[in-house]
């Protein structure tokens, strides 16, 4: 009878992120000199999709009450690798794509193994593995360069039927192929349960280790898809430390905007995708309003600060002060 209420309560974060994104995007396009055209949407989609993939990766790990500070570096590493491998004949290109995705999976699996079977804290462990991944990326591309199969790149960053951005179609496909099956599988539920209360999940016989391991591994894969797309957009590979770092930080911001709880067990990758798109749109708002680009970092920072402070409104609902301390 009240099913829709439960559904609404569960999806509140996702819907809020969707709302923020729609509002921001309407402001963005209505002030854009070119208006709401296929070109504007395509450019915005291509920029947003990169962060959306990395944010999805972060979501999987955050759901298990962990955090992956190496997603940005896996993103860079796979970008550097793709600029070597995703070239040549269609056959070679396919093999290259598979190899890049496999490396992403491997990076995620290493993170998972260290955190789960090595029993290290995810923050420190992924900081360290992130340094390793960045080092390997730098080894592959000491200087920016390389190339990519341009036919494939243009097809995946262009438009389908002249209207819909292809990158959005790929994003949707990835959601349907990876996120939806995962979140409905035993492993996905185990990941949620482990984030919600690891002890209770353990006592109930939920396979928490396998669930968390799957989450970390798939996070590596999603970051690799992001890295692949970065190569398609830029046609080059570059190991830029600052860029990897900022993708990691922005992914956390996007996850928070998308209503995923950093304490684990709550939220969905769909929310994080809208969080990522909203975050990107907010960052681009300055350009349409013709501000000095110097103000962009400050503007983004203030928006981030305000967005995370909004979470503090939950304090008003606290009846018992002990609930302050989770």
């Amino acid at each position: 009878m009240k099913d829709w209420r439960y559904w609404l309560a569960e999806q509140r974060g996702t819907l809020l992120a969707f709302g923020i994104f729609i509002v921001m995007f309407v402001i963005y396009t209505s002030n854009h000199p070119a208006g709401f055209t296929a070109n504007v949407v395509q450019t915005a989609a291509n920029k947003g999709v990169l962060l959306a993939f990395v944010a999805m990766a972060q979501t999987l790990v955050v759901i298990t009450a962990g955090i992956d500070l190496s997603v940005g570096m896996i993103f860079l590493l796979t970008n550097c690798l793709a600029s070597w491998l995703v070239v040549g004949t269609p056959m070679q290109t396919t093999l290259g794509v598979i190899a890049v995705l496999a490396v992403g999976l491997l990076c995620g699996a290493i993170n998972g193994a260290i955190v789960i079977y090595g029993r290290l804290q995810p923050i420190v462990a992924t900081i360290a593995t992130g340094a390793v991944y960045y080092g390997i990326g730098l080894l592959l591309r000491p200087f920016p360069g390389g190339s990519v199969n341009e036919d494939l790149a243009d097809a995946l960053t262009g438009r389908v039927f002249g209207v819909v951005p292809a990158s959005l179609v790929v994003l949707l496909a990835i959601v349907l192929v990876i996120w939806v099956p995962f979140s409905r599988s035993v492993l996905g539920r185990a990941a949620y349960a482990a984030g919600s209360s690891e002890t209770a999940a353990y006592m109930s016989g939920v396979p928490i280790r396998r669930g968390k391991f799957a989450a970390y591994t798939l996070a590596g894969l999603l970051a690799a898809i992001g890295g692949l797309f970065l190569t398609f957009f830029t046609y080059t590979g570059e190991a830029a430390y600052a860029s990897g770092n900022s993708y990691t930080l922005f992914s956390i911001a996007a996850v928070v905007l998308g209503g995923v709880s950093l304490f684990g067990g709550k939220g969905s990758a769909i929310g994080a995708i809208f969080g990522a798109l909203a975050f990107r749109t907010i960052g681009d708002l300055l350009f349409v309003f013709d501000f000095d680009p110097l103000w962009q970092p400050l503007f983004q920072g203030v928006i981030l600060l305000v967005a995370v402070s909004l979470g503090a409104f939950a304090l008003f609902r606290v009846r018992n002060r002990l609930e302050w301390f989770l």
């Binding site: 029993r119 462990a125 360290a128 930080l249 956390i252 911001a253 600060l305």
Partner: protein, 328 residues
């Protein structure tokens, strides 16, 4: 039989070794090991000049890691270090441009700017109950934005004052760099606060269980806020010293200090979950990381190799002694 022999050996060991934290001992053992391998590579690794130079370089990280440790002991984390360092350095240099009064107040002004960042972090974490990882990230972004707007995106032209240079590179006691003395003073103060004052006890208490500390009548929110303010101030002070060392501030001077400061604290046996750890361990961690970086750069290892070894060493050392107990 073997157990009694072991007990006999342990019984004959000096008391301070038996009581020491195995993590701290491992960290110091690794330092000795690093020096040993370094001396195989080049004799100069054991020369007093080299060691003193390393200690001087380590003291910048040491000052920053001191603040980070205080926050980590609470079970929180401070990701605003990079731009707190840069803001401290830039604001101190900027103040120096305003005549003799500015020059005199340059250092306190830089530190106060860092403390302001820390206070915003503290309000967010303690009173608004925002996870520290997010709010410190956000204040870091805001501090970066403010500095970019202030400097116009370039490194500021103002240079460090004489006092800043003296603190970072001078020799008040012949043979001992001032930076090392400052680190020693700050470290001693930290040890005193952590072990001999109520504030220090409270920090450990909150790190173990904030709820229990609150129920014992402690104003835990004020303690958390003070800790973040101190951390911001120490980061900025580290930035002031760095600016004195390089004689000017730079845009991304703090970036290289976030991960090493966390790594140094954690390698020194402080639990990232809070409530457990000693300052001696942090000292060991700071020296360990500085030596590792120095040896890798002396061996002319390219940046890529350095990052890889750096990460592998941290994971390997933590797997040795930083593991959480198995869930049973």
């Amino acid at each position: 039989m073997s157990e009694t022999t072991l007990g006999g050996i342990a019984g004959r060991m000096p008391r301070f070794i038996r009581r020491a934290d195995p993590a701290v001992l491992t960290a110091f053992a690794c330092i000795v090991l690093l020096l040993f391998f370094g001396s195989l590579y080049s004799r100069s690794f054991l020369s007093p000049e080299y060691l003193l130079q390393q200690l001087k370089v380590a003291s910048f990280l040491g000052v920053i890691a001191t603040g980070m440790m205080l926050v980590i002991l609470l079970g929180q984390i401070d990701l605003s270090v990079p731009w707190a360092v840069a803001a401290g350095a830039m604001m101190a240099c900027a103040a120096a441009a305003y005549g003799p009064v500015g020059v005199a107040l340059a250092i306190p002004f830089g530190i106060i700017c860092g403390m302001l960042i820390g206070v915003v972090n503290g309000i967010g974490v303690a009173y608004l109950r925002i996870p520290s990882m997010i709010i410190t990230l956000a204040t870091n972004a805001v501090a970066q934005g403010l500095m970019v707007v202030y400097t116009g995106g370039f490194s500021p032209q103002d240079s460090a004052t004489g006092a800043m240079r003296y603190l970072a590179t001078g020799f008040a006691i012949p043979g001992v760099p001032n930076a090392v003395i400052i680190w020693a003073l700050i470290g001693a103060a930290m040890v005193f606060v952590l072990t001999r004052t109520g504030f220090g006890r409270t920090v450990y208490g909150i790190g173990n269980r904030e709820r229990a500390a609150y129920l014992s009548g402690i104003d835990t929110r004020r303690v958390v806020m003070i800790a973040f303010a101190v951390s911001g101030g120490l980061s900025a002070f580290g930035g002031v010293l760095l600016a004195g060392y390089a004689s000017k501030a730079a845009q991304s001077m703090g970036d290289a200090y976030l991960l090493p400061s966390i790594a140094a604290v954690v390698l020194g046996g402080t639990s990232i979950l809070g409530g457990r750890g000693s300052y001696l361990g942090t000292v060991a961690g700071v020296i360990l990381i500085t030596l590792l970086q120095s040896i890798l750069s002396v061996m002319q290892m390219p940046e890529a190799g350095r990052q890889i070894i750096y990460g592998v060493v941290i994971v390997a050392m933590l797997l040795l002694y930083g593991r959480a107990p198995a869930s049973r």
